[in-house]
Symmetry: C2
Subunit: 232 residues, 2 copies
């Protein structure tokens, strides 16, 4: 039974790993479409999202079967429930990458509004958060999960700066820029939301590995029953 | 064992029901704060969100214990995993209600931009979706769940109209309206996102009750193993 669990769980982990790589690729293609004004790149995002959706259903199905057939408890139970949640986050990230492609393809139909250095930098940070959050889960690395949590503030700061510049320098000054500036604002917001899902994964990782609940920055539910101190 | 499961599961259901009511209330207070320009209402949203967060942790904890102690299979397993997912959706809805309050309290610091009839109508529809999605789950009512799915298009249509009016009649014409119009746009978007979470709950309900997977509008995983035709 134990070996069956390990083998099947390893297969599910591998699939989740691939989903994470696909999310990173989808973000990359969406940003390439935007900065290189290349609509073919957006089509690749839609294709990738389809494959993420398929894997999402498969992973969910496999986790349900694993729970039913193996009735895992303690750490293994937390692992499977953790994967079910992470799977949902990855699927939403795929949806958000499609939003990026949607706003990006609308944006490039009009003349460029401004040089785009800030959004690609923000996107790189978000891709890093996706990778590190998945790695933290797959390696059971709580330290790395905490790094992901700390990066989220940086991403928020980036988004606010992008937002502020577009409102103050463009939208408030010249009404003809509103639609394009709004597309860029929505792209920044969707990137931020992908980062939020990476944060969820990092929080789930900390819970799965240490049994410590850092969600809502408060309560601890260690598996032993005795509450632990939290970093924040 | 069976009776223990039923009793504990009933308690978890009751808690999830309360969470849904709290989400509806939070939306109501956020909109009251916006339309009546009443900042105290926003504070109530923050308080409600705190209580939703606490219930979120409790429900998650209880579901994990239920899986560990009772090892449910088949329909009961789908129910518990369904609750785990719905619990996440409800918690996010609470976050989004806080976003509504955040944008609303910023909006009312400036003079009113326009009469607000459209956002309260949209909010009422979203509250209805929240209630019906929860009811569909709690009653195991697939028909009601499908009603929720159909309402989502109406909410999207509303959001697009609100968006369009604010861009075309205000932001593009008068730069001094940009910040306020943007707040209203973000409120519409956050309402839409709450509706998306209600849609998730409705889809999970259909899966839990019928074993039919309507997510991604495609694959069916009936519990019997034989694929079924889907409505869409």
């Amino acid at each position: 039974m134990k070996r069956n669990f390990d083998k099947e769980f390893q297969a599910i982990r591998d699939q989740v790993h691939v989903m994470g790589i696909q999310v990173e690729r989808a973000i990359g293609h969406a940003l390439a479409g935007l900065t290189q004004r290349h609509s073919e790149s957006f089509k690749r995002v839609y294709d990738i999202e389809q494959s993420i959706n398929q894997m999402h259903l498969d992973v969910d199905d496999r986790c349900l079967r694993l729970l039913a057939l193996q009735s895992p408890v303690a750490a293994n139970l937390r692992l499977v429930v953790g994967i079910i949640k992470i799977n949902t986050d990855l699927e939403r990230m795929g949806d958000l990458a499609v939003n990026l492609a949607h706003n990006g393809s609308r944006y490039i139909k009009e003349p460029a509004l401004k040089p785009l250095q800030d959004l690609p930098i923000m996107a790189k940070e978000v891709q890093l958060m996706v990778r590190e959050s998945l790695d933290s889960f797959l390696q059971g690395n709580v330290e790395l999960a905490r790094t992901v949590l700390s990066r989220d503030d940086e991403v928020d700061r980036h988004k606010n700066e992008i937002f502020r510049e577009l409102v103050d320098k463009y939208m408030s000054v010249d009404g003809t820029t509103v639609n394009r500036a709004l597309d860029l604002i929505l792209i920044a917001r969707n990137l931020e939301r992908i980062a939020d899902h990476a944060t969820n994964i990092a929080e789930d990782t900390i819970f799965v590995v240490s049994g410590t609940d850092v969600r809502h920055g408060k309560r601890a539910i260690p598996p032993s029953g005795a509450p632990k101190e939290l970093d924040k």
